[in-house]
């Protein structure tokens, strides 16, 4: 049973990773990051249930809290960038280079 959850989590993570690497829309990239985080959460919870200890669920809560904070900051950054640069493409934001 747990192995199915693990496979699902790996699939979700891979989708998120590939999306993170190839998509240009900042919002989609952002969603992909969330997808990866939640794939991890799924694994945590699955293994927690498998081993019968609560540590994994604890970790999942931490990840959620961090993700929530990250969403707040990340979204506000994206909104600000969209307002000033009239674009949501992540490739447009290439001025921070050496």
């Amino acid at each position: 049973m747990t192995s199915l959850y693990a496979v699902l989590a790996v699939i979700l993570f891979t989708i998120g990773l590939i999306g993170f690497l190839i998509r240009r829309n900042a919002l989609v990239v952002f969603m992909c990051v969330e997808l990866m985080l939640n794939a991890c959460n799924l694994l945590f919870v699955a293994f927690s249930s498998h081993h019968g200890v609560l540590d994994g669920q604890m970790a999942a809560f931490f990840v959620m809290v961090v993700a929530a904070a990250e969403v707040v900051i990340g979204l506000s950054i994206i909104v600000m960038i969209t307002r000033t640069r009239r674009s949501t493409s992540v490739d447009a934001e290439n001025v921070l280079k050496g």
Binding site: L21, E93, L96, K97
Partner: protein, 631 residues
Amino acid sequence: MMVSSLMVTDFSLVWMLIAIPAVMAGLLLSLGKVTNSFGHFLATLAPLASFTLAVMYFLDLWGKPVGERTVDIPLYTWISSGSWQIEAGLLIDPLSILFVLLITGVGSLIHIYSLGYMAHDPHRRRFFAYLNLFIAAMLLLVLANNYLVLFVGWEGVGLASYLLISFWQEKPSAAAAGKKAFIVNRVGDMGLLIAAFTMLAMFSSTSFVDVSAGADMLSPGWATFIGIMLLVGACGKSAQVPLQSWLLDAMEGPTPVSALIHAATMVTAGVYLVVRSGAIFEQSPIAQLAVAIVGTVTLLVGAWIGCSKDDIKKVLAGSTMSQIGYMMLAAGIGPAGYAFAIFHLLTHGFFKANMFLGAGSVMHATNDDVDMRHYGALRQVLPITFVTFAMGYLAIIGFPMFAGFYSKDHIIEAAFHGQPILGVLALIGAGVTAFYMTRLMMMTFFGQSRWRQGVHPHESPAVMWIPLVFLAIGSLIGGMALNSWIGSWLAPIGAEVGEHTSWLPAITPIGLITMAVVGCGVALGWLLFKKDIPDTAPQKVSIFTTIGRNDLFGDVVNDYAVVKPAELLSRAVATTDEKGITPGIEGFGRFVETLGTKLRVIQNGYVRTYGLTMVIGIVFLGLFLLLSRLV
């Protein structure tokens, strides 16, 4: 004694002796221009106040029984660290009180003289502040009850000497002379410090009492080591061979400074140190002999230099070296010589200060000319200066009944009893002293006038000649006044009481021979220099004169022994820095810069690239973890 019973003398106030001039120096230096108009009068009052106090303490000691004449005044704990307890304290005893009287007495007279001499100097206030600083430091030096506090005073007088030699700092020669004095003194200070540290290691204390008490237990090797290190210290401060070279250059300072610091007081600190450390030297005949030899060599070197110089101040500086050589010789003879060393030191303080101030008066009259070839026949226009100078002259050559007659004869006689060879050399030195001092007198006050154009010599103002008169009286009666009691007075500090207890000199064969030798020197000087003096120094002179004019090539020796190697070393260091270290550091900097330029390209600004990098990193990390599990 009546005087002491009337007086309420509180020895806990001895620190006031030092504090008065020190505070005055601080006031003059910190208040600045406010005190320009009256600061020099205040500064003159400071040593006078200390002198008054010192006379009271002296009379008090005089009235006490011999055994109670040593008063130790603890002040506070200076350093307290683990098992070290170093107390700062003062010591009044027959030796230090004599020094205090000399320093404050002659110091006061020189302050008064300076009122006239420095009247038109734009930095008069600074000058007087430094003089007060010197008085304070010198008093601390002689009143300290241990070697570390003494060292503070020792450095203080060194500082004051440096500041005053280079007082006319706009003259490059004066600035250089100040530096030279300071640096040469550093060598001596190192010796004194090593001696003090060794004492700390041996006795866990540097106080004179503990050192004297513990000296018996010292092994001969350590006693010799401490003795030699003390001698190095004394050589630096007292301009003894081989650290003599700074004293002649020190004449760049204003003449009152030469009189006070470089004749009467500071340069005698080395003699004080040796006498004060008598207990150590008595444990080591080698160190004692070294002191006596250094003294003898210096008295001859100083006399040699004195014979060949045309600069009146340099002749006097050479003679100062020479006279301090006599004191060192006496101090090196041992307990039998201590009293004579101090005796000669006191009389020398009078007559040398007298002659230096007289030279200042002559310079004052001749627009600051120091070349004796430009003087001549000054006795008619400077009668007071001439008479007072003559007193100093008679005192230094040892004319019967004058001050130097008593003190120098004692030293020569003691030298004959101790080391006959040194006695003979000291006797020759006395003859040479008579010769060059006669030369100085003849060239300055007698003969034809060789004044430069526009020079109209005139007698100095009263504020300058009154101190001269006091010092001349000291040169005249100083010997007679001290001769009968100084030996027994100094007995508590280890001096052996001689049989010279009357104010009349004892007629001895050696005394008569000395008088004959001195007579020859005077006659020779008179015969050679009664004729016309050439206006410029002759170039074709004997090898002896050439050597003397070059200060026995002391500077050349220093140049080759110290200055040149130091220059080579610093040049090597500079080259290493320039050719080795600088290119290395710069190369490394360039490497980092190039690396940065290359690595910069990676930062292309695309979020996806950063993301990919991160992913690759994580993959590698995962692989690493997996592989490490497998292995």
